[in-house]
Symmetry: C2
Subunit: 135 residues, 2 copies
């Protein structure tokens, strides 16, 4: 009986550690994509470079999606959503920006994009405000 109790406690601990809801900060942002670069942008992101994905993961970003849509004025926009699980977002972003593969990747992707004119200084993707969340 003692053994069973002990194993049930161990099970409980494993479940707690393994399944516990991670501390997560969510980020949503927006940027334009040039119509004549749309196909290039989509192809790059349909086949992302493994080193770039690896770097994103190592910088504590998970569940990262980018969506594309056309607005009524004919322009195209990208919307990104990701979750950050680290302790120092700025430090992790600096680490990402220092990665040679990521720098090379951005040399491909940046010319496909146009920043929103009203984005805050220092931003490329414009940060959005979270107004609702339900786990």
């Amino acid at each position: 009986m003692k053994k069973i109790c002990l194993l049930l406690i161990v099970t409980g601990l494993i479940l707690t550690v393994g399944c516990a809801q991670q501390k997560v900060q969510r980020y949503g942002s927006v940027i334009g994509v040039k119509e004549d670069m749309l196909e290039k942008y989509k192809e790059l992101h349909a086949n992302p470079w493994p080193q770039v994905n690896k770097q994103i993961t190592e910088c504590n970003i998970q569940n990262f999606s980018i969506y594309l849509t056309q607005f009524p004025d004919g322009k195209y926009y990208l919307f990104s959503y990701f979750e950050y699980t680290g302790d120092d977002f700025d430090a992790d972003m600096a680490k990402m920006a220092a990665d040679p593969a990521t720098q090379k990747w951005w040399k491909e992707t940046d010319p496909c994009q146009f920043g929103l004119e009203n984005r805050p200084e220092g931003e490329w993707w414009k940060s959005m405000e979270e107004v609702y969340h339900l786990d």
Copy 2:
């Protein structure tokens, strides 16, 4: 020894069922929000009705976020991201649309919004195309 083995197997099963990556379909969409209704919309979503949240969860939607941003032309837009874990999205959406509390909620929120003119027929929030995802 037999008991320990049995309990380890049970532990394994519990972990598998409890922690297994759920089958998830992700949805991203966009809609406009009227400037003069912005504060009302934000206030509603800062204090969502429990019955509405409950209905969303019961319709197999999780990790649901809505972001707000202003575009350079001065107009405001909302971007939503959620994950669907059920087996029949259309049936679950019909279930949600039949819920009286949700209908009452939409009577509050719909007049705050304006649909994108180029959205597909039958949509209110315009669906976006996923062009990138990293778990």
